[in-house]
């Protein structure tokens, strides 16, 4: 116990705050030096919130609390929180050129990152297109992905395309000539005759 010895005064030692047990002493010192007026922003004074005095900190806090928008040039379009459904919609929007063979799109941006500022909405048709340009109640879906997956014409195309890919990926050879384990070895030989 070197601290005890120095306290007695028989051995001289420089008055340095002890290395161990820092917690207690430093807390005490902090309490002593603290100005009652200049409190850090997170603390409450008499149970009330007091904003920080430092303008830099105040600006930082204000910026943090401000909503993220696309700016006044686009009428403060907000940044949407991306839920799994919305993420799927954005992905399918990026891959829409493979969904329909009859439709062609401009390339658009090449960035892999999803767009930051966007909104998801529903089209409202004018009265003149009530019979021609309107989805029935059954055809309406809550997400873009659902809508594309439920289109019958696209379904047939998708099915055909997947089958084609599966066939092309399938290994070659005749299925019935293949050996499936030892037991079929003999029979396979017979089959080949």
């Amino acid at each position: 116990m070197p601290e005890n010895k120095s306290a007695i005064g028989l051995v001289w030692a420089p008055k340095v705050p002890p290395l161990f047990g820092v917690k207690n002493s430093s807390e005490k010192m902090h309490n002593q030096t603290k100005d009652p007026v200049l409190t850090p922003g997170t603390e409450l004074v008499d149970g009330l919130y007091v904003p920080p005095r430092d303008p830099r900190k105040l600006n930082k806090l204000l910026k943090k609390n401000m909503k993220d928008t696309a700016g006044s040039s686009w009428f403060d379009m907000p940044a949407l929180t991306v839920t799994p459904e919305i993420k799927k919609d954005l992905e399918i929007l990026k891959l829409r050129h493979v969904i329909d063979p009859k439709r062609h799109f401009k390339k658009g941006d090449n960035s892999k990152a999803p767009p930051k500022y966007f909104q998801v909405g529903t089209v409202i048709e004018p009265a003149s297109e009530f019979f021609s340009g309107r989805l029935t109640k059954k055809e309406r879906k809550t997400t873009l992905a659902d809508e594309l997956l439920h289109d019958d014409a696209l379904k047939a195309y998708r099915k055909r395309k997947i089958q084609e890919i599966q066939e092309s990926r399938h290994p070659g050879g005749v299925e019935k000539w293949k050996n499936k384990g030892r037991q079929t070895w003999k029979r396979a030989k017979q089959r080949r005759k």
Binding site: S73, M77, L93, V120, G121, T122
Partner: protein, 243 residues
Amino acid sequence: MKGGSRVVVQPHRHDGVFVAKGKEDALCTKNMVPGEAVYGEKRVSVQNEDGSKVEYRVWNPFRSKLAAAILGGVDNIWIAPGTRVLYLGAASGTTVSHVSDIVGPTGVVYAVEFSHRSGRDLVNMAKKRTNVIPIIEDARHPARYRMLVGMVDVIFSDVAQPDQARILALNASYFLKNGGHFVISIKANCIDSTVPAEAVFAQEVKKLQAEQFKPSEQVTLEPFERDHACVVGGYRMPKKQKV
């Protein structure tokens, strides 16, 4: 895009313009009067996370030369939120309504139209849009409506007259600020139907250059309109300082 389908609305490269992406793409502007279509166009209704509702109107490039110019890839239309626009040749106000959407509540659109018949639709549209000032007057005589129009940042001209360069210059001398911009749509057939369209465009650009205009770019509105061009540029541009 059928009614009821879901779309994602994103900001376009141009200020105040949006793109709705779904099975197909569509140009949009934010509706100043939610719940109301001006000429039977489709709308996109959006519910924000905080419960507020926003609406966009689909902008058809086959009906509007400005939309056609945007899709044609014009570099800058100079019409943005907060700008003051003088619109010559407003017709029944279909494009004017979209321009009024773009400039928003802080901007102004002065819409000049000579015909009383289409002017009636224009006035009815302007009743609901506070930033549109309809003027039923001949654009050849800007002195007649000089008391109504203030200094403007941009002049859009779609008058389709043989002397449209002169009309534009006359209005610019009255209302356009120095260093302001103009957007003019030129229909080759209306000026001279005997020479090829490119020659007419070049001739019109020459005329504009003689009137203190500085055309900076020209786009054709080809898939949407035949033999049309859109010319964009500045007016009385300040000389560049030599460093």
